[in-house]
Structure formats: structure tokens, C-alpha cells
Symmetry: C2
Subunit: 190 residues, 2 copies
């Protein structure tokens, strides 16, 4: 019972953190603002998440859980669901900004989110290879295998997010992603 | 004469900053360490670069100048020179880390490097389209034009850097980049 309530409170905090981040961006989001929204003192919040980084990693893990439940069906991920995920991301710059800013920080030495991202990308590349194999089989254009195309698919998604966040009017993120899928499909029609 | 000496000192500072960043990473690089290396007081350094961000943007601009002079010939950029640039980057994780961390920060609201990156990417996409047109003509696989493939080429370069920085043993950055060029070339041989 105590554990259930504690879990519930944790979820409330993550939801509040996501809202605050969406409104104010990653820099503007303070532990104080999150605590206030969820009706805790800052000290009370620190009991659940001891640092701002820990809270942000929590938000990212929660985001991955949501996206995973929304973006896959019983047979796992599919390429068209990935396409929908990119369209969905184009409607929520706040969380994409948070993710991209944290990814950028995470490559610096000793950053608290580094391990999260390193493990996440290893898993993402495996998932992407599965998706590509299911859609295109063993041989992709250019003689690529699903495993060799997987880091490219991942890189395109991340790289487009930066260009789009910097200048949304100059970059059509979902359109560019579909263009890349056309390259992988090996023809002009897909 | 005074201006020439001031320019020279500015170049010395940027070179020292690049060395310090390569050794300690972006977070570890302090204005004090850069000042010490170049034989200035921190106050003296602030005369040339008033903030750490300004110094880092200076380093990035200088990096673009070097890469531009090394990576293009009289006719401008070429795709094989871009391939060499990615290979070169794979040998200097320090500067790639600096670039990637700053790009990540720059997408947050009001960041001092935001304008630099927004303008840089607009220019990079134009350059990439020129390179693609020179190499492949007007029609790329998937019915893409050089202008539509340009943000993808840019995204792949950036996105691969993050994956490679997080786990160099898991991602062969130059190899993956060549794979992407194979996709753009429309066949297995290029």
C-alpha cells in the first residue's frame, strides 16, 4: 500500500516535470517549480529525485515507456508506427527539446545521463534493425544489412530533431524522415 | 599594428581553448585554464571573450574556418572531402564532443549559441545540396532532389556523432557515413 502510493506519487512528479519542461524548456524547469505543481516541498521532491538530472532521466525513461506502448503493437515496432512517432514529436517541441538538450550534455565526461543514453542507443539500434528486417528483409539498397542501416535510421531521427528545433520553418521533420524511408525502400513510391 | 597583435592574441586564445577542451572536455574547460595556458590573467581573457559561451562559439567558428579551408578545393566542397572530414573527426573526439554538447545546449530557449547554430545549419544545408548536385545531378534515389537530401546528409553526420561519442566501440562512424553515401549513390558500388 505504501509502495503503491509512493509509485503513484512518482508518476505524478514525472507528469508535472514533463508539463513544466514543455512550458519553460529544459533550462527554465526548476525542481522548485515541479515541486509546487505537484504540491510538495522541494525537500519532499528530493526524496523521490535527488537531483534535477535524476528527475530528467526519469522523464526520459517515462517518455520511452509511453512511446513504446503507443508505438508498437503486439508484434513489436513497425516502420509506419515509427513514422507516426516522428509526426507526433513534431507536435511536442518541449519534450523533443528536453531530449535533445540532455543527449547533447550526456556526451560530456561523467554526465549523469551518459549511461542512460549509451544503453538506450544500444537497445534502439537493435529495435531499428528488427523493424528494418521486418519491412525490407535482409538486403537493403547499397548492399546494406538491417544492422548496418540501423545506426543511420537512428541518426536521421536525432539529427533532424536538432535542425527542426533550431528552425522549424526551414525543416519539415516528418517529410524529411519519410524521404529517408524512401531511400531505404529503394524506390520512389515506397 | 595594435589590431594585428590583438588578432594574433585572439587566435592564440582560440588555439589554447581548443587544446584545453580536447584534454578536459567541454565541462572541464574553464576560462581560468585557458587564460593560464595563453599567459593571460582571467581578467585579460575576458577582454577578448566576455563569457565561456562566447569563447566556445569562437572555437566553433574557428573550427568551421579550418574545416572549410582543408575540406574544399577551388571548386568548393566535394563528397569525398566530406568523407575525409568524417574520418578526421573520428580522430578528434574532444572537438566533436564540444560541438555536440554545444549543439545540444543551443536548442534550449535563449542560449547564446542558438543564433550561431541556426545560421550555420541554413548555410550547411545549402552547401550539402551543392555537393550532392555536383556528385549525383538533379535526381537522387527515392525521387529526392539535392535540396531534399541535404537535411538528411546533415542529420546523419550529427546523429552518428552522438552515437559514436557515447559508445565508440559500438559505432564505426566513418563506415556508417560511407554506408549512407552508398544509399544516396543508388547502388552497392558507388
Amino acid at each position: 500500500m505504501v509502495r503503491a502510493r509512493s509509485e503513484e506519487r512518482r508518476t505524478d512528479i514525472l507528469r508535472a516535470a514533463l508539463e513544466v519542461i514543455a512550458e519553460r524548456g529544459y533550462r527554465g524547469a526548476t525542481l522548485g517549480a515541479v515541486a509546487e505543481r505537484v504540491g510538495l516541498t522541494q525537500q519532499g521532491l528530493l526524496h523521490y529525485f535527488p537531483t534535477k538530472e535524476a528527475l530528467l532521466v526519469g522523464v526520459l525513461e517515462e517518455r520511452d515507456r509511453w512511446d513504446t506502448s503507443g508505438g508498437r503493437d503486439r508484434e513489436g515496432w513497425r516502420l509506419d508506427l515509427l513514422e507516426s512517432l516522428v509526426e507526433y514529436n513534431a507536435m511536442r517541441p518541449g519534450i523533443v527539446q528536453t531530449f535533445s538538450a540532455l543527449l547533447g550534455e550526456s556526451v560530456t565526461d561523467g554526465h549523469p545521463a551518459r549511461e542512460f543514453f549509451t544503453e538506450r542507443y544500444a537497445q534502439v539500434r537493435v529495435n531499428m534493425a528488427d523493424i528494418l528486417r521486418a519491412e525490407f528483409g535482409e538486403r537493403l539498397p547499397g548492399g546494406l544489412t538491417p544492422e548496418r542501416a540501423a545506426p543511420l535510421l537512428t541518426a536521421v531521427m536525432d539529427g533532424l530533431q536538432y535542425q527542426w528545433l533550431l528552425d522549424p520553418s526551414a525543416v519539415d521533420m516528418p517529410g524529411a524522415f519519410r524521404d529517408f524511408l524512401r531511400l531505404l525502400g529503394g524506390d520512389g513510391t515506397r
